[in-house]
Amino acid sequence: MIHPGHDYPQAIAKALDDASLQKILATYLPQRCERTRQGVEALGDPEAFRDLAKQIKDYSIAHLDEMLEELAEQFEARGGVVHWARDAAEARQVITDIARQHGCRRCIKTKSMVTEEIELNPALEAAGVVALETDLGEFIVQLAEDRPSHIVTPMIHITRQKVGRLFQEKLGADYTESPEALTQIARRYLRDKFQQADLGITGANFAVAQTGTLCLITNEGNGRMVTALPRVHIALMGMEKVIPRTVDLAVMLKLFTRSAMGSPITVYTNLITGPRQPGQLDGPEHLHLVLLDNGRSRLLSGPYADTLDCLRCGACLNVCPVYRKIGGHAYGSVYTGPIGVAVTPVLMPEDPATQVMPDLCTLCGACLEACPVKIDIPRNLIGLRQESVAKKKVPWVYRLLMPTWAWFYRRPGRYRFSQRWGRRLLCLLARKGWVRWLPGLGAKWTASRDLPLPASKTFSDLWDESDGTLT
């Protein structure tokens, strides 16, 4: 889940210096946010939809064990097979075992964050299965031997010029920058692969407990190809994605697609209930569902359970000022952006990278405002920061500064003392009311900003001197 050896300062500096990335983020994300804002507004009563969606998800999470049992029962009643994977290693084992069992060698995949989470592709390769990504963005990322940088649009960081060169180099195509032409090149290449594949691996956007139905949405139709053509289909799904009834799916889908890209519906919506039934023209002979825990039960039993409501729509990424500045790779995790820094530290608490993640946030609240299911990410990140302090994993300078600051501010007398003496100290460094250089931590501020001197008379001074008249 976490990029091994990820160096935050280096990755952040690289992202900030990458002019192409900065241009992409500054251009596309505000546009996308405007489209999603309009799309959600068009629902008429977006708040009512959000509240309802949150209710549906909260209910599902609160009754997760019952719902998963019902899902498994319904899924198997229609001829599917359900597997339960405690962690990433178990999930990889289960999936490669199924592939081996059915003699599969050529796998096609739809975009699935959870398959990235468990690092599935290298395991498939080791088991002798060639896995090809068929989502255009993931296909490009795979060809480029890169990583996805956004939950919904994984190749947002790659320009079409780069894609043109990539297709030229890796597919022998003539160079073009036209998105339509590039898409046609990919389409022709993938067409054969769809037909030759013997295994399809997908995630699932939702699973309906009532009917044992998997819901998979795409704009490209690759979901249809991957789940209908190969003789074996394996769906890997985070266990929190189950919802109660088909009617709940209607609410979730309406909100999901509008929050993700501003569209009322995706081009293709697949509802998969069971493998190919007698008399049906297409569909796999074998349908498997792998339900993944991998730390989700830890989330479920803790104070951040609301993050399990996440639909993986990417709305929080699109509005986040930090994501807009550093893009997806700098976060160092499969799950990037606000939701990424909220869940990764709980799913992978031992990894040192998770200490930094909650700090990749200004607590501006844009994510909470955009989230279709109202996950309070800022509140959760403050909670994670508190855990770091309690475990003494915060640098000593803050462990000294914060309590000292609080001690001075606790009583009016000490507070005023610190104001006066703080100002006197800063005066030594100031010119014409501004400080251009500070030592220690302060140097990080003064690297690009001046610090104004505190006022020569505080508001309290002015009040006292005028007996509260302030004339």
Binding site: V322, K325, C361, V389, A406, Y409, R410, P412, L470
Partner: protein
């Protein structure tokens, strides 16, 4: 109406003129304003960085200082958000303090919200006059309180003689985020640079910023870059427009 001022530590220390403007404005609109002297800080910097014990201490002090007030008004949405959204969490294990915290949250308001929502002052009937080209940066914590950019924009547009220019990416965070500005300085620098680029693009000579944290960040960056723009809180702009104070070169006494 009797109101108590919660000045906030940033306003008290760096922006006393905002406090003065606010008091003069409220009194002009018929309020009786007092300033409970036991107040210091709401504890937000400590809370946001995870030092909840220290935050609790400061919060207890503030609750006590404002206990006797009927209505509390503050110029800073982030401090009001601290009281109204997070004090509940800080005192969740202490029934007595929790009741007091809830009482404070119930009576505390951010000033633009107070003026338009509670006092319901009709600014269109007041003689508001000023000059200049003005834009507005929406400070993040307004979101949590349900504040809207339109509230302040409406007030700006009621001033005769002002040319209002909308700011691109008006609601995007300026990059301050408290300790974020120091912990993640390169990202913060990038964000404040973007914000200032948007400000410069408006051609405005005055920027309305209703938050001391945003101000210290954006104004500090502008000063370093030699960008001569005036920053004011909406209460300062209104007080000036009503002739309750002289326009000053910078938003400080």
């Amino acid at each position: 109406m009797k109101v108590s001022l919660f000045a906030t530590c940033l306003t008290d220390t760096f922006l006393p003129r905002v406090g003065v403007a606010m008091v003069r404005l409220l009194r002009h609109l018929g309020c009786e304003v007092d300033f409970p002297r036991g107040q210091t800080c709401c504890g937000q910097p400590q809370f946001n960085s995870g030092f909840h014990g220290e935050a609790l201490d400061l919060a207890a002090g503030l609750i006590e200082a404002l206990a006797a007030s009927d209505v509390v008004v503050s110029p800073s949405a982030s401090c009001v958000a601290m009281i109204c959204e997070y004090y509940e969490q800080l005192f969740s294990e202490e029934a007595e303090m929790l009741a007091k915290a809830r009482a404070l949250a119930g009576k505390t308001h951010e000033v633009s919200d107070f003026l338009t929502g509670i006092l319901q002052a009709d600014f269109s009937t007041l003689p508001l006059r000023a000059a200049g080209k003005v834009t507005y940066h929406f400070a993040c914590h307004g979101r949590g309180l349900g504040l809207e950019a339109e509230t302040t924009v409406d007030l700006i547009q009621k001033i005769d003689g002002i040319e209002y220019v909308p700011l691109a990416n008006q609601e995007q965070c300026c990059g301050f985020g408290g300790t974020f500005a120091v912990k993640m300085a390169p990202i913060s620098d990038g964000l404040v640079a973007d914000k200032v680029a948007c400000i410069v693009a408006t051609g405005a000579d005055t920027v309305v910023v209703n938050d001391g944290g945003c101000w210290i960040n954006i104004a500090g960056y502008c000063h370093r870059q030699g960008i001569a723009v005036r920053f004011v809180h909406i209460v300062e702009l209104l007080a000036e427009a009503l002739g309750l104070m002289e326009p000053a070169a910078e938003g400080r006494a």
